[in-house]
Symmetry: C2
Subunit: 335 residues, 2 copies
DNA sequence: CCGATTGCAGCAAACGTTTGCCAATTATTG
DNA sequence: CAATAATTGGCAAACGTTTGCTGCAATCGG
């Protein structure tokens, strides 16, 4: 067993220093600020470090420097596919920058959200908050104390990345109206969800502009299982087309319509929001407002890293465009 | 602004100690080992800690104690919906136990897997490895140095949770044979995937037992986009039914079949593995081998925590049963 | 050839905990 | 009531880094 002689203990700076015959501080600098150390010495140190398989102890580093090289990613529900792309996008941007994600599930709770952020404050350098449930006031206060970037939440004083789904909502409604729909319904998400309110407002405004009748049903938790209730409620309104708060809900509604024998899009047209995994292969494939979710996460991370890097003139708010992806769940109004 | 007087600096043990008039060590003990301290003192300390909003600095704690209260979750691709349930299940078990997940994406790379595990060794107490790409030897060696539990990977000396999909493969084949299928194909996953080989073996064995002809196509990366190639390859074999390495691939295949005008299950029956998000609402809904993925993750975490807790007599290997979920993608053989 | 400048490396003090050991106080026992 | 035991709380040394300051030597300009 050749590699069996592995030291049980991890190599530390002290070990590398001893092997090289220099001081610990020199090793530290050689590894973190190479330019502060003579090239020859640096060489020897790197060699010794490699031989010993040295890698820094993150806890000690965090304690010494106050920086952790990790970023908290707050999602309200790890289960929601919307966040998969958030996680993925964040990961993509974080990894190459040498940061590690700290995934936190706030379980749709305002209290938990703030508590986690506070409790683990020393464990991350900054945070990406996707779908905050916090009030504007609390969020703004928090942003004073913690470097953070919010996704899909615009609040004064809080850097954010906003996915312009409301604009897409307008497009979606035009699409429906052009197909002859005159009565439309909005199947709403949680009342505490900020984007939900924005989408509803955009929906109502566009409807007014286009002269169609609207109703709103809900609130519904954004889960597939809630789709049944939402579908039934929409049917009650007599609308010929409906827009759901998000795709998860929309997919659930689609299933319910199928169960009840409501043919989509023949009897009813259905539009979702976000274009999550599954929206393209559900039945019928869902017309939806495609959101650049992974991109939003990447932008959020890069904004955050810039902030952490001490960039003063910072983008305070970025808006990302969406587009309407027309699939098979929308069509001409019946009759 | 009442809460404005917040100290910019986080409260430390020293602050609490000063406020209570006891030593730092006493505060530490009062908070971590309440029984080691007088009830009255403990009371006063807790009160002061609460007032100051004290919460321990995890880095300092890790440094002092060598324990981090966090668990690494290694997945080969955060994008794969299979892992959503892993993440979710792990989260569910970790949270209540006061642990935090450290999500690591190994990007299907053996090197990255081991490197991450080593580099971040000081940042986690133990690891859950879902779908290791490591060789048996490396994995076993690693298990000596790091408390870990593997999911879907049985290797001597490595505690594991195994989802018995191979048993389900047998069932699936019986289901197909009972529908008159005589030629079946396996659309394989990555060659480095351990479960892939197990599934294929189970498939071949069952086919032999049932007297049907098998072929194997692949390997394919387990991505939806790879479904096209897999579907075309299967069509070439002349099989009337096919089992895919996993649902992601199966869903991709379903899409390709639709494109090519192959009617499922009329012309061809299709079975997936895992029953991921989407398997129930794709078109047609997928017959699949349902795996208790979230449960597997929960069991893995609890096994790991037991190990961390110093339990010596440990379950070395747990096997979780699967079952065949019949939906609409399978039916009688054509002709 | 001397004083000023620069580059490089080391010393030592943090950072906020945990924890082994010891001292003081209080409770228990014969 | 003295001796012993148990409980309680404090001291101080880790843990492995980072980083401000200092000192030394080599280099440079004049």
């Amino acid at each position: 067993m050749p590699p069996a002689a592995r030291p049980a203990r991890r190599a530390t700076l002290a070990d590398v220093a001893a092997r090289t015959g220099v001081a610990i501080s020199t090793v530290s600098r050689a590894l973190t600020r190479p330019e502060r150390v003579n090239a020859a010495t640096r060489e020897r140190i790197s060699a010794a470090a490699a031989e010993l398989g040295y890698s820094p102890n993150t806890a000690a580093r965090a304690l010494g420097s106050g920086r952790t090289r990790s970023v908290a990613i707050l999602v309200s529900d790890v289960t929601n596919p919307f966040y998969f792309d958030i996680i993925r996008g964040a990961q993509q941007e974080l990894g190459p920058a040498g940061y590690t994600p700290l995934l936190l599930d706030t379980e749709e709770s305002e209290e938990l959200e703030e508590a986690m952020l506070r409790r683990l404050r020393a464990s991350y350098d900054g945070a990406i908050i996707a779908a905050s449930r916090l009030t504007d006031r609390r969020l703004a206060e928090l942003a004073q104390a913690v470097p953070l970037v919010a996704i899909n939440r615009q609040t004064r004083g809080v850097p954010s990345v906003f996915i312009d789904t409301p604009a897409g909502v307008g497009q979606a409604l035009e699409h429906l109206v052009s197909h002859g729909h005159r009565r439309v319904a909005y199947a709403g998400g949680p009342l505490t969800s900020w984007p939900n309110e924005r989408r509803w407002r955009a929906f109502r405004t566009a409807a007014e502009r286009l002269g169609v009748e609207v109703s709103r049903v809900g609130p519904f938790e954004p889960r597939q299982s809630q789709g049944a209730a939402a579908a039934d409620a929409v049917l009650n309104t007599g609308a010929s087309a409906t827009l759901a708060f998000n795709d998860l809900l929309a997919i659930g509604m689609l299933q319910r319509f199928a169960e009840r024998g409501v043919r989509v899009p023949r009897d009813l047209s259905m539009v979702g929001c976000d274009d999550i995994f599954g929206a393209d292969f559900c039945h019928p494939p869902l017309t939806t407002i495609t959101a650049p979710v992974a991109q939003a996460a990447r932008v959020a991370v890069s904004t955050l890293l810039a902030q952490l890097g001490g960039e003063s003139r910072m983008r305070q708010g970025v808006t990302l465009p969406t587009h309407l992806t027309i699939r098979a769940s929308t069509g001409p109004a019946p009759g």
